[in-house]
């Protein structure tokens, strides 16, 4: 088996840049959302379509990013 339809795109959630990486292995689409800087994955999902996997990753990432506190420096 192989990863197919590998795709990356960048969006903004709660004021933070987010990379969405998705691909398919067999019948399952996987998606991970990372925070670009520093690049840590904050949500990973799977579904039968890319759209569903991405939507779930976006939902989970949004909740976590909304809880990130910014401090004045």
């Amino acid at each position: 088996m192989k990863a197919e339809d590998y795709r990356q795109r960048q969006i903004e959630l709660e004021g933070w840049a987010v990379n969405l990486t998705s691909y398919r292995i067999g019948p399952t689409f996987y998606c991970s959302a990372d925070n670009v800087s520093p690049g840590a994955a904050i949500a990973r999902t799977s579904a039968t379509t890319r759209e569903e996997a991405e939507a779930a990753a976006i939902d989970r990432a949004r909740v976590k990013l909304a809880a990130t506190r910014r401090h004045s420096v």
């Binding site: 088996m1 990863a3 590998y6 292995i25 520093p38 690049g39 994955a41 506190r69 420096v73």
Partner: protein, 287 residues
Amino acid sequence: MTAYAHPEALVTTDWVATHAGDANVRIAEVDVDTTEYGKGHIPGAIGWNWTTQLADPIRRDILSKAQFEKLMSEAGISNNTTVILYGDNNNWFAAWALWQMKMYGHEDVRIMDGGRKKWLAEGRELSAEASSVASAAYQASGPDNSLRGFLDQVQAAVQGKTSALVDVRSPAEFTGEILAPPGLPETCQRGGHIPGARSIPWGKACNEDGTFKSAEELSALYGGEGVDGSKPTIAYCRIGERSSHTWFVLKYLLGYDHVKNYDGSWTEWGNLVGAPVERGAAHSAKA
């Protein structure tokens, strides 16, 4: 084009596709997301879980020599095995594993340039079946603590300005604007950076496809911040895995002699009572 100082420390995805089945080669996947291996991995590769297999399970520490020998033995790795490490996040924890393997004296351990990301993006073969291997005898040396930075050494470096400190976290972590990468739990009491540290985020060492930048680009990147190998260098991040990636770059791609990974990193320094902390952007490297 200038070559890496130790080009033998890297292999390409093509090389792995050709040599993964060689008798003396063992491929190991080490991911931030420990479920990745199960989704599909390089055929024949074993998987290591960094949370349970690449750290002491009780105290905060790397593996003991006995734990390390057991891990190698159970992975079918002998002292003369060629070990190829790869993983997600452009090899964060593959570099962490390599750092420990070097501390315990494994001679031939290399990183697959581009890691899991490149292998997937190239549509290369995957297997979902866990690989079974026969155990092997393994005898570690060391640990070689010259590769590891400890708190007292970092404190001495700050006081005496004897080492170059490289903070490889994101700029917002460096300044103190955030206490952890966006979306992750805060793991420190104070934000900012170790006084005198240069901010060189780990990702600047990588190309878009996850491979390492050229020797010229890396030399310009670190040299431009005054980190040129002319004095001992200590890299740190939050828990030590991102900084092991930078440690690998400085030690093996640029060939700096004296480079330590301070795995205590910001979770140690940023929780330490009385530790000096700088906030805001770094001062000029030339100052």
